[in-house]
């Protein structure tokens, strides 16, 4: 109650709220249009820089950056981490980190512009919000692990490697769909 009166009594704050959260909600674009735009972004990335898109690589370097702050000695003793953050190497000094930060920014800007910024948890009807959070974390951990093992996630392998016709990326892509379809039946109550 007091919170409501407070927002009402504070016009500055409510206008800020309106600015971010009360824009008219627009529908999503048609998948083929969204895909075409995504493909054009992908092409521009290759044309301008020679590199594709990605996201797990950027998260990886941010994780290693934090590890390097906490335990630099450990990073210097682990060969896989050493390549990114050994000695005076800054793991954030890499293009993929900026693509990753940009993706967050772009998602935010697009969500804001189209009136889709909303604090919410999307889930199937039969599970609780807390269960959904737990599953999201566990699924994320499995996905993150697999993405590093495969040297790239859906963006770096399936999307970028798929468009450049890298043979291994096509194998990764089919494996992703295969893994998800193989388990989908057993998780039907989570999502339906």
């Amino acid at each position: 109650m007091s919170a409501v009166t407070q927002t009402k009594s504070n016009p500055k704050r409510s206008s800020l709220r309106a600015f971010f959260f009360e824009r008219p909600t627009k529908p999503y674009v048609h998948p083929f249009l969204g895909g075409t735009l995504l493909g054009m972004v992908l092409f521009l990335a290759f044309l301008i820089t020679g590199n594709g898109l990605g996201s797990s690589g950027g998260v990886n370097r941010i994780v290693v950056f934090i590890e390097d702050l906490i335990a630099p000695g450990h990073v210097d003793r682990t060969p896989y981490l050493l390549k990114m953050a050994g000695g005076s190497l800054n793991p954030l000094d890499d293009w993929i980190v900026f693509v990753t930060i940009g993706a967050v920014l772009g998602g935010f800007l697009s969500g804001w512009w189209n009136g889709r910024l909303k604090v919410e948890t999307n889930k199937g009807p039969r599970i609780t919000v807390r269960q959904r959070w737990a599953l999201a974390f566990i699924g994320g951990a499995i996905m993150g692990y697999g993405a590093r093992l495969a040297r790239g996630c859906t963006s770096g392998q399936a999307l970028s490697g798929g468009a450049t016709l890298a043979a291994g990326s096509w194998a990764v892509m089919f494996a992703i769909f295969g893994g998800a379809y193989a388990l989908a039946y057993f998780l039907r109550k989570v999502w339906n």
Binding site: V29, H30, F32, G34, G35, T36, L38, M40, L42, F43, L44, F46, L47, N51, G52, N60, Y80, I96, F98, V99, T100, G102, A103, V104, L105, G107, L109, S110, G111, N114, L117, N122, K123, A136, F137, G140, A141, I142, M143, G144, G146, A147, R148, L149, A150, R151, T154, Q157, L159, T164, L165, A166, G168, A171, V172, G179, A180, A184, L187, W191
Partner: protein
Amino acid sequence: MAPFPLPLEGLIGKFGMYAVYLLIGIAFGAALEISGFAISTRLAAQFYFKDLTVLKVMFTAIVVGMVLIFGASALGWLDYNLIWVNPTYLWPGILGGFIMGIGFIIGGFCPGTSLVSLATLKVDGLFFALGSAFGIFLFGETVGWYEDFFNSSYYGRLTLMDVFNLPAGVVVVLVVLMALFMFWGAEQLERIFGGRDLSKEPLLRVAGAAALFLAAVAVMLIGEPTPAEKWTRIAPEKEAQLRNREVQIHPGELLDSLANDQLRVVMLDVRPQADYNLFHLRGARHVPLEQIRSIIPSLLLERTDNQVIVVMSNDEAAATEAWKILVAESVPNVYILEGGINHWLELFAAQDPQIVPTPTPALGLDYIRYQFPAALGDRFPAADPFAHEYEFEYTPKIKLELKRGPSGGGCG
């Protein structure tokens, strides 16, 4: 033609370069968001055949990107040899992909979409992103236990063109056809499982499919630039380098470079097998001229910034041919051994009584003009002379071209 890839760092500085990457990232995130990829239930519906948005968006992006990339390559706007093509590690990739699929259906996102989801304040997106950071951390800590598997089944820069032995244009058309068939199938599944009314779908999508197919056929008909065309494009500049002898390095420079720890010298001996067996420099790889193309993928992929490639033949003719092929395929830092093996032997085998110049007039160019007691290969002292015993006057010609090439995949 603009240089490819653009030397961004040189043009606009490091911050400018990173600003470009940031803009690309913003466009990437926005493209994911407008497709509805911030919503986990929408993504997961893919795997219950109700709403195949994920498949449609992903495959549309792949085929549109592919047609544009290979179209631009056919027209000479970008150089396929210089863009990053994910190297193939088959089994780690398949296992990792399978694990990712499991994570996808449990968590409802992939890493990129979870970032967009958290950016639009979805709490499940935040938990997924934190989870993937944790999984990535766990991988960094545990990969040391099975490094052998992680680096196994390595095929290098393997493309679908290599696998099916087809030209790029044909593969492009086939992939587009496969994608269009999948889109048709996806819509049928949505009709059956999701109760979607296909008559309400925009007709424009059929026109888009037709345009995509025609563009792919055009890419196939234009064809990727042949080696001869690639050479023609750069010939004026490169012929001048050959004429001005900017790329023919003195044997002394090769010897000093081999002794220089800061350089990684790759020597390619392009002579016939018999000549190579008679005598070759220690450490030189034997790649006959006819097979020089086969090593280009590995030279492009495994290159380091300090890599220098030196091609050599008996004189210079075959080495120059090899040089042209490598340079046309955008392999950086390639040089020719000046005067070839004959010149080398003249300098380093003068004291060796076993190796004698043939008195008969030369058979012609690019024949070996020395006689050996036996085909001892690199077991002659002249095959591996001590750098500090020799001092030559020469003009150093090796200039490392530190071109910022594609540095790693999206997840590198």
